[in-house]
Symmetry: C2
Subunit: 372 residues, 2 copies
Amino acid sequence: MSELEKTVRVELGDRSYDILIGPGLIARAGSEIAARLKGKRMAVITDDHVGARYLEPLTASLGEAGISVFPLTLPAGEKTKSFDPLIKACDHVLEAKIERNDAVIALGGGVIGDLTGFAAGIVRRGTRFIQIPTSLLAQVDSSVGGKTGINSRHGKNLIGVFHQPDLVLADTDVLDTLSPREFRAGYAEVAKYGLIDKPDFFEWLEKNWRAVFEGGAARIEAIAISCQAKADVVAEDERENGRRALLNLGHTFGHALEAATQYDSARLVHGEGVSIGMVLAHQFSARMNLASPDLGRRVEKHLREVGLPVTMGEIPGGLPPAEVLLEAITQDKKVKGGKLTFILTRGLGQSFVADDVPASEVLSFLREKLEG
Amino acid sequence: MSELEKTVRVELGDRSYDILIGPGLIARAGSEIAARLKGKRMAVITDDHVGARYLEPLTASLGEAGISVFPLTLPAGEKTKSFDPLIKACDHVLEAKIERNDAVIALGGGVIGDLTGFAAGIVRRGTRFIQIPTSLLAQVDSSVGGKTGINSRHGKNLIGVFHQPDLVLADTDVLDTLSPREFRAGYAEVAKYGLIDKPDFFEWLEKNWRAVFEGGAARIEAIAISCQAKADVVAEDERENGRRALLNLGHTFGHALEAATQYDSARLVHGEGVSIGMVLAHQFSARMNLASPDLGRRVEKHLREVGLPVTMGEIPGGLPPAEVLLEAITQDKKVKGGKLTFILTRGLGQSFVADDVPASEVLSFLREKLEG
């Protein structure tokens, strides 16, 4: 084990698990898994991009630990989060005869993690599951907390289960091969944990973000703090009946922007939507006299500095009118008495769930921002 | 509410729910549901046989309670427990905009209940769910306990989730329209609860089975005792880590016989397989010197008396050799040191989980029984 390695524990009673964060974890996956699980058969589900690079070293490492690997490679991309690949994945896990002590391993980013977790959650009504996230976004967000699922023509992530992994191996070496744009998109979720309730962490990021982007100890530290933040929220509210909703800071506006750009990653990826969404949430909080306009400017400045988009105007190809964005926000639900739920803030790292936001205010705010 | 009506409570903490058992419950469904759930939108999933008879009265009853109904009718039969109908069901629930306080209703037998429960379990990672079971088998077994799922080419019920209903309405009037063969098949599961751990109930059935078949108070009593028995086991061991396995009495042999007859319901339905399987389990227990051979004869006598098949020889079309049946029992799993898990018995109503049954003993037992 590397000196740099950190372990975060997700406390969920008899379903508690470790997140290991550090360099070289794929090469060491076999021994880390064998130390925790008795099974000798593992189905590995990956995509053609990630698999080309990491399936061989992972298989070798598992082989050294006496574990037989049954790999399935799916096409990379968001379209893989749908029923056809899910059926393929389920069939593969059954074909591989994965039994009670064996496991299904997700090797990839958020798409592979969400799909594989869903398959593991429904084969034999729940099969052991290991996450090996290979994007920054997956390492600090989607691989932790047990939300799994696929998209529907009615919207993203509408079909799925809660299914916690038995282990998460976040190999920080793999982040060196991400494109700068992809790394930045994941960084938006890192900054989010500071903005939710860790003002010191956000200040630390303002000073040290270059070191986080460069790699090494600062990057591992930032990932560990992010995972710990998410682990704490999940331990308290696994099924999102309350506090877990805070993790959606920036996501209500962000999802609407993703929908408005038809989920076209050439125009906007999830983390970029979250970046713009977090700035909008802070600006809207100022408009509602909850927080100072200076705070919005400060958040905007930091995210712009790391290279993330921070205004709707930066999205290439233009956006629909405010009414359409509001419709995407309400997702066709009947808005109860014209009130919406947003994550807003009262100050740096003082986010809260506001469930009485007037839709009319959101509409005029969006109009102004689209014009400005 | 009818004087005959009984309520069984399934105790699962904040997921506890009621099973109402009695006449006229479909006609009264609207008020029973409105008394418990706030939602005003319900998706009803049924099959073409059951729907033709009961969808209209159910819709009328829900309408009187101010509940809008969004019905989906699927083809009757085991083939509906597969991915294509599941996708249709999920899409239907999303299309109907079933939200947090609304619910998905299963109106049908075991197939519809298992499929609908699975869809409810995965749409938005879990939607409220109501069972209106219309076969005796579904009323006393599959609608209680939260096991949901579909079949795979690798075997039955291999893909699914645990998802407990919010309410079960077992309308005993609908049983009058079942064929005698279908009623008998459900009765095998009723008798099972006596044989697991309720010797008094089995003795009562020996004396009163004709009244149970005729309907009225005795039938409601038998269904209520069965539901209570299952509810008690589920409350203690929801996820089948231990005691819940007792519910598989007769099912290990039974499933092998269903597989050996290609799940052809003209030859063998599930409850008939369970009937023969329970007799075999008692005979095998005697062979292992666990129970008296008289007990096996007593169980066989009662099940034969009600009209159920009790020997493998009664299955039309012939069976494969013992080796093939054993293979179906082991389901291609590597048999650990030649040991299998069976539910065996030490006496009337004294079933237990035996996890060290020698495969060789099962093989010679099956050979003798196939010859005899």
